[in-house]
C-alpha cells in the first residue's frame, strides 16, 4: 500500500474513530438538558428550543425542546427516568446514603467564575485530575432534576417560539406535562423548594467535578454562587467541605484553615471531616470532646438530618407522582409508593 492510500485510509479511519458513539451522544444530550435547565439563564434563548406556537415559558420550552427530541428513542425513557428516578438517587447520594462523593458527576460549567473567553468561546475549564475519591472516575451521569419547574425564573420568561410540526409540538407538550407535575404555569412562579434542592445539588456536583478537574477557582466560584443563591440550602455541609478543598487547591491556606475550623466545629462527625483534616487545612484542630461541643454537634447534625429527611420525603412524593403519571399504578407499586 503506498503512502497516498495509507493517508486516505488513516484519515477516513480517524474521522470515524474520533466520532462519538451512541452512548456519547445520549450521555451528552441528557447532561446538556440538565445544564440548560440548571443555569439561571437556562431559557434565555429558549425561543430556539421551544417549537410550540405562540408563547411559552422559556424554562419549559427549553426542556421540552430537548426532552421532546428524546422521544422515539430509548433516550426518551432514559431522560424521563433520570429526571424522575435521579431525584431519590441524587438526594441519597448526598443525603442519607452518603458515602462520600459518590453521587454521579455533573459537567463542569463556567457559569460562575471561569473567565470568559474570546468572542464566541464563552467558557473555560482548566482541569487536570485530582480525584477526591473513587466516585470521580465514574462515567458521566445526569444531575438529578425534579422537574422543569426547577428552572429558576429568568428575567424574560415569555418568548415567542418558532412553529414546528403539530406532532413535534404535541410531543413537546406531552414531555412538559410528563416532567412537570404542577401544570404549565409553574415555570413562571418562583422556584419551589424541590427545584432549589435540584439546582443546589446540580451546582454542587459541578463544583465537585471542577475540583476533580483541578479547577479550584471554578469550584470556589460555584460554591460562592451557592452561598448567594441558597444561603439556607440543604447541602451546606457538602458545600462547606467543597469550599475548603477549593481553597486548598488555590493555595489559600489561611482561609482554608479558617473555614476548616468552622466546619469541624459545626460538623465534627461529618463524613467529610477526615477529608478536610487531610487537606491543606491539616492544622485545623480535631474537635474537643467537651460537652458543649458534643451538644452543638448533635444539634447541628440533627438539624441537618431533619432537613434532609424532609427533602427526601418531598423527593419521594414527587417521584411517586411522576411514576404514577408515566407508568400508572404499576410504576407506583414498583417504586413502593402507597396509593
Amino acid at each position: 500500500m503506498n503512502v497516498d492510500e495509507l493517508e486516505r485510509q488513516f484519515i477516513r479511519a480517524a474521522q470515524h474513530e474520533l466520532g462519538p458513539s451512541a452512548a456519547d451522544r445520549e450521555r451528552n444530550q441528557v447532561a446538556l438538558l440538565d445544564r440548560l435547565a440548571a443555569e439561571p439563564w437556562g431559557g434565555a434563548s429558549g425561543g430556539a428550543l421551544g417549537a410550540g406556537k405562540g408563547t411559552r415559558s422559556i424554562g419549559a420550552g427549553a426542556l421540552a425542546g430537548i426532552v421532546g427530541s428524546m422521544r422515539g428513542s430509548r433516550l426518551g425513557i432514559l431522560g424521563v427516568g433520570l429526571i424522575v428516578g435521579a431525584v431519590v438517587g441524587g438526594v441519597f447520594g448526598f443525603g442519607l446514603g452518603r458515602s462520600g462523593w459518590n453521587a454521579p458527576p455533573a459537567p463542569v460549567t463556567d457559569a460562575v467564575a471561569a473567565p470568559r473567553a474570546a468572542p464566541s468561546g464563552e467558557s473555560t475549564a482548566e482541569p487536570a485530575s485530582m480525584p477526591l475519591e473513587a466516585g470521580s472516575g465514574e462515567p458521566d451521569a445526569v444531575v438529578p432534576h425534579l422537574a422543569p419547574a426547577a428552572v429558576e425564573p429568568s428575567p424574560s420568561l415569555e418568548v415567542p417560539t418558532s412553529s414546528g410540526s403539530a406532532d413535534a409540538d404535541a410531543a413537546r407538550r406531552r414531555s412538559v406535562a410528563n416532567a412537570k407535575p404542577h401544570g404549565p404555569r409553574r415555570a413562571v412562579t418562583p422556584a419551589q423548594p424541590e427545584s432549589s434542592l435540584a439546582i443546589e445539588l446540580a451546582m454542587l456536583q459541578r463544583a465537585r467535578r471542577a475540583l476533580n478537574a483541578d479547577n479550584g477557582r471554578l469550584a470556589l466560584g460555584i460554591v460562592q454562587e451557592l452561598d448567594e443563591r441558597f444561603p439556607n440550602g440543604v447541602l451546606v455541609e457538602e458545600r462547606s467541605a467543597t469550599r475548603i478543598l477549593s481553597l486548598c487547591q488555590l493555595e489559600r491556606v489561611a482561609e482554608a484553615k479558617q473555614s476548616a475550623r468552622a466546619f469541624l466545629e459545626r460538623y465534627p462527625t461529618s463524613v467529610y471531616a477526615e477529608r478536610v483534616r487531610q487537606s491543606c487545612a491539616a492544622a485545623a484542630p480535631r474537635p474537643s470532646h467537651g460537652r458543649a461541643v458534643r451538644r452543638s454537634a448533635r444539634r447541628a447534625s440533627g438539624q441537618l438530618e431533619g432537613a434532609r429527611h424532609r427533602e427526601l420525603a418531598r423527593a419521594r412524593r414527587l417521584d411517586c407522582r411522576l411514576r404514577g403519571q408515566r407508568l400508572g399504578g404499576r410504576g407506583r407499586a414498583a417504586a413502593g409508593c402507597s396509593e
Binding site: 500500500m1 493517508e7 488513516f10 479511519a13 480517524a14 474520533l18 446538556l32 428550543l49 460549567t109 467558557s123
Partner: protein
C-alpha cells in the same frame, strides 16, 4: 430582513444539536481536549450555541459558526490541561509496535492521528483538523481562524508534509515488524 423572517430562519436548537453533535465532538477531540474533558467541552459548545442561536445572523454557514465556537472552547479547555493523560498515553503508544498496515484497526488509526495532532505545531494542527479531518473549505477556515487564505494554504501544505512523514515512518516500522 424583517424580524419575523429572521426569527423563522433561525434553526431550532434541537435540530442543531442533532445535526452537529458528531461534528462538534470530533472537532473537540481533534483539537486536543483531553478525553476526560470532551463531554464538558462539547456541552459548553452547545450551551454557547443555545445562548447565541437567536442572534445567529447567517453571515457564515451554520457549521462554520459552530466550528468557530468549538474552536475557541477547545482552546480554553486545552490551555491548562494540555492533555496530561494523553501524554501518558502518548508514551505508551510510542513504545508499542504498530500492527500490519493492511489491517490497521480504526482505533489505531484514530490514536495515530490524535498522536500526530498532539505533536503538530498548533497553527498547523488547527488548519489540518479543519481542512483535512472536517473537510471545511479553505475560505471558511481562514474566517474561523482569522488568518489570510494564503496562510491557510501554506499551513495546510506543511501539515500535510508532516502527516506524510509520520505515515512513512509508521509504514517503515510496520514493515520492520512484518519482516521479523
Amino acid at each position: 430582513m424583517a424580524p419575523d423572517q429572521a426569527r423563522a430562519s433561525v434553526p431550532e436548537f434541537t435540530e442543531v444539536f442533532r445535526q452537529h453533535f458528531d461534528f462538534v465532538w470530533r472537532t473537540i477531540r481533534s483539537l486536543g481536549v483531553a478525553d476526560a474533558l470532551v463531554d464538558d467541552a462539547v456541552q459548553e459548545v452547545f450551551i454557547c450555541v443555545h445562548r447565541r442561536l437567536p442572534d445567529f445572523e447567517r453571515r457564515s454557514a451554520l457549521k462554520t459558526w459552530i466550528y468557530s465556537i468549538a474552536y475557541h472552547t477547545a482552546q480554553n479547555f486545552r490551555r491548562s490541561a494540555r492533555r496530561r493523560e494523553a501524554s501518558e498515553l502518548d508514551d505508551e503508544m510510542m513504545s508499542r509496535e504498530p500492527g500490519p498496515s493492511e489491517h490497521v484497526a480504526g482505533a489505531e488509526a484514530g490514536r495515530f492521528v490524535l498522536q500526530f495532532l498532539d505533536r503538530l505545531p498548533r497553527e498547523r494542527r488547527d488548519v489540518f483538523v479543519l481542512c483535512v479531518l472536517e473537510e471545511l473549505a479553505a475560505p471558511d477556515v481562514a474566517e474561523i481562524l482569522q488568518i489570510k487564505l494564503n496562510t491557510v494554504y501554506s499551513r495546510l501544505r506543511l501539515a500535510r508534509v508532516d502527516f506524510r512523514t509520520a505515515l512513512e515512518r509508521f509504514k517503515k516500522s510496520d514493515r520492520r515488524v512484518e519482516a521479523t
